[in-house]
Amino acid sequence: MDRERLTRSLDRLVDATVLERLAISLAALAVAVVVGGVIVFLSGAVATCRDPALVLGGTAMCYDPIEVYLTLADGAFGSATNLGLTLQETTLLLFTGLSVAVAFRAGLFNIGTQGQMVLGGLASALAVLWVAPVLPASGLGALVAIPVAVLVGAIVGGLYGALPGAMKAYADAHEVITTIMLNFVAMGVAFYLVRNHLGDPTTDAVQTPSVPEFVRLSPTISGTRFSVVALGFGLVTAVLVYLLYERTVLGYDLRTSGLAPEAAEYGGVNAERNIVTSMTLSGALGGVAGAMYVLMILYRWQTSMPPLGFDGIAVSILAANNPLGVIPAALLFGAMKGGAIQIDFALGVPPELVEVLRGLIILFVAMPEFFRMLGTRAGYGSEEGAVATDGGSEGGGRDG
């Protein structure tokens, strides 16, 4: 595909000011909540229940949207256990969200975070199982084993991200398609390896043996798998990524190489290599997410990992691809995941509702012009101003 055109359309997104993006994200959130509420209410018509929230002309409407949202919030933050569940999800989403954001900053759409996470997690579990027997089963052993696990996860995830990066840079194969395809390949290969060669021989499940006790990130809140160490690591990573992209020359080069390769080359930067670097970095963060999943949540690698990589896309888009914005966005989606269990348990609303909400949020974030239009109609700002905040590229769609 033509890079220049993609660049122009991406420019529109990147150039919007931080405040404006924040306003758009919040507005999108509000609209998504309302539309999601309507969907919940309507879906109550086909569900069966004993005491409906409302009876409309003979049709029993099972769900009260406000009650659903309150239960969702209660499920996310209502007790120490619920908070722990929310935060453990938040921690993982921090890494996958950063993974997507890093690529996006360079104008690359990495949908392959899922695959990079699957392979990174597997490699990390295998590394721990391999290195643990020679280490003392103590805090000292953990100090060696955990960094090794994270590093191996990052390397394998990074290499698997570099692959579509190289194909993009040197063969101009669109990264959206290649990364999606590589997700399927990663899952197939990991399944085969664990099923046939590396799996736990004592069980039929497709999984590795569990890692020794001392390597696990011990839960901070009992009854959950939330580790404050992992969360702290995630927050530090977010700040480091932010500093890399906003305050260093390398970060600047990475951004321009993806967004405007010709301009970057003109400035003496090797754009191809930087595209590969961006994707490697993105993949490495995905791999770390996999390592965290192994060390903090499951204590082993198992097939059919949750779609954290895809959730990372939603996190990154809601955060306007800002590494610091990823933090609140990850918390929001983490809370939705934590609360989903509760709405299923207490109200019988399918927990997949959260996936619908996630889709709706991105839907509305993806339509900034819509909110600008609404803003203009409501009398805020002038028509001209609304166009100018668009990065001034309004005329860009014309020339060939």
């Binding site: 359309s9 879906s43 669109h174 290649t178 395809m181 889709g359 993806a366 339509m367 309004e394 014309r398």
Partner: protein, 326 residues
């Protein structure tokens, strides 16, 4: 062996339909300058909508129609976002795929256990008697025949009708087209909606005709393969046909490979060395990844081989259009 080949050919033809339908829709949409990465989501919505309708009414044609219509509905969102609001086409498409996957998992859980009797096999008399290719090509379901019929229809529409040529013109040079009096917005909307209809139909075919069941996520990346297929096909309906059979063959080969024992005998030379390799390559799990690997290979090869100026990519793809005079 003849039995195996005949079976493989039959399975290929059946597996190719979904790629033909989704691929043709994508060609039409991209020809007008709008990339649609929401195909996968539209297919899922079409598959569930078609399936649920068929379960309730027992009428699979009605189900097919509903599935197609839901594809159009999702495409309407894409058109509104990309054409009217000038949003980023890549983000809008990916978002629609995620939304479609979310919606169909949310609403689709309860339909999983249902069974339907979908499109029955039909055969064209006389022609079906031809050995090997007869049963493959002339004994299929109505939607298989429909897909093959739509190839020349799409070609005729795009290259032989005014409407089709106008559609291509807004994908190549919307400014010029506008000057010539073509309504750019209307042509683009039409193309995106038609593309959505094709994607919805592909999904409905999958649940009503190909597998006759519904499982969340059953499209398994076929929508994405269709997008890549369009690049391979150089935005031409006739080459979509070739590509669809290529990927159909890989799909079919994987399904049929369970019955295949491809190892050397114990005494054969190099048996110890080659058998583990053969076991790996022909393991069903590994074979299931071949269509995805092939997509990557084909994509890289097509783009790398053809210089960018020779690549038939519509010039205004990914560009939103706004009129100069307000």
């Amino acid at each position: 062996m003849t039995g195996f080949i005949a079976g493989l050919l039959d399975a290929t033809v059946r597996a190719a339909t979904v790629f033909i339908l989704a691929g043709l829709g994508e060609v039409i949409s991209e020809r007008a300058g709008v990339l649609n990465l929401g195909v996968e989501g539209m297919m899922l919505v079409g598959a569930l909508g078609g399936f649920a309708t068929t379960v309730v009414t027992g009428n699979y044609w009605l189900g097919f129609l509903v599935g197609t219509g839901l594809g159009v509905l999702l495409a309407l969102i894409h058109a509104f976002l990309c054409i009217t609001l000038k949003s980023n086409q890549v983000i809008s498409g990916v978002m629609l795929t995620l939304l479609g996957a979310g919606l169909t998992t949310f609403f689709g859980q309860s339909w999983v256990e249902n069974s339907i009797s979908g499109f029955p096999q039909m055969s064209i008399p006389v022609l079906v008697e031809i050995p090997i290719i007869g049963p493959a090509f002339f004994q299929s379901t109505a939607t298989d025949f429909l897909a093959i019929l739509l190839i020349p229809v799409s070609w005729y529409f795009l290259f032989r009708t005014n409407l089709g040529l106008e559609t291509i013109s807004v994908g190549e040079d919307p400014e010029m087209a506008d000057t010539m009096g073509v309504n750019v917005f209307r042509r683009r909307y039409l193309a995106v909606l038609v593309g959505g209809a094709f994607a919805g139909a592909a999904g409905a075919h999958l649940s009503l005709s190909f597998s006759q069941l519904w499982v969340p996520g059953m499209t398994a990346g076929r929508g994405w393969i269709a997008v890549a297929l369009v690049i391979f096909a150089q935005w031409r309906p006739s080459r979509v046909f070739v590509g669809a059979y290529l990927f159909g063959l890989l799909d079919a080969f994987q399904l049929r490979s369970q019955s295949l024992e491809l190892t050397l005998g114990a005494g054969a030379p190099l048996a110890d060395l080659l058998n583990p390799v053969l076991n790996f390559l022909f393991h069903p799990t590994i074979m299931a990844t071949y269509p995805y690997l092939a997509t990557i290979a084909v994509l890289s090869y097509t783009v790398a081989r053809t210089k960018t100026d020779q690549l038939a990519v519509p010039s205004a793809l990914l560009q939103s259009y706004s009129r100069e005079t307000e």
